[in-house]
């Protein structure tokens, strides 16, 4: 007889955090529109947001890592490996971006590396990161849609009858 439980507060917060992170990332990936200075600072702002994302999903990460070599479906295993590669690509894109930054590092009193190698690494890693992120979203889309359905205000009004 009880109404369906709304999404746990933590899941709701996690979803909102992920949406925020997605929005920040999209702006960070448009340097032609935002300008290089904004692009660099938005990129730096992404780091604590990503750390928050990892902390919010830490239980899942630890549990899945422990079960990697035991009974786990292929899809979940692939998902986990993909997430690890995504993290590596993010670190590479951020680090290379910092090395060639024209505003962030000079603000900290550090001279950037102007060579073309790190510029090439940053361009390639950022493009690959965006594509990998698209796949990451697809792999977790079910979770997102489930949370959206259970979100207060979006949950369908059910009748008082219990389901058999």
């Amino acid at each position: 007889m009880a109404a369906p439980d709304p999404a746990p507060a933590r899941d709701s917060f996690t979803l909102r955090w992920d949406v925020l992170m997605f929005g920040i990332y999209v702006f960070a990936a448009m340097p032609h529109a935002t300008g290089i200075q904004a692009h660099e600072w938005i990129g730096v702002a992404l780091v604590p947001v990503l750390v928050g994302h990892l902390l919010l999903n830490w239980n899942w990460i630890v549990t899945t890592t422990r079960r990697m070599f035991s009974a786990l479906s292929g899809e979940v295993r692939f998902n986990h490996i993909w997430d690890a590669l995504l993290f590596v690509m993010f670190v590479l894109a951020t680090a290379s971006g910092l090395l060639i930054s024209r505003f962030v590092l000079p603000t900290l009193g550090i001279a950037p590396m102007g060579d073309g190698f790190w510029r090439f690494v940053h361009t390639v890693s950022a493009t690959v990161l965006t594509m990998m992120l698209g796949i990451h979203i697809a792999l977790h889309l079910r979770w997102v849609l489930t949370r959206l359905k259970k979100a207060p205000g979006l949950a369908p009004k059910t009748s008082r009858k219990e389901e058999p």
Binding site: V26, A29, M30, H32, A33, E75, T127, T130, M131, M132, L133, G134, I135, I137, A138, L139, L141
Partner: protein, 85 residues
């Protein structure tokens, strides 16, 4: 000396031309809205959207195959799919 005096106007012309090239924008100026729209289409639509759509299609295909295989009884006959999600 004469050689240097002759090249001076040419050098000045070259400097003027290179300054004009520096001042001229490489691409014609675009409105902010156009830049952001184009950026959104490129990033969200193409770079992120295409791999996402391809992955969703692949996942739907593999899950469908798995669910069909899982619904085979001992005799290998296909059972009705459950209506529950």
């Amino acid at each position: 000396m004469r050689g240097r005096e002759q090249t001076r106007p040419l050098a000045r012309l070259e400097i003027r031309r290179s300054r004009k090239q520096d001042e001229r924008p490489l691409n014609p100026p675009q409105s902010r809205l156009k830049l952001y729209t184009r950026g959104l289409i490129e990033v969200v639509g193409l770079e992120m959207g295409l791999p996402c759509a391809a992955t969703l299609g692949l996942l739907a295909y593999t899950r469908r195959r798995r669910s069909k295989a899982g619904n085979l009884d001992r005799d290998g006959r296909l059972q009705a799919l459950s209506s529950k999600p």
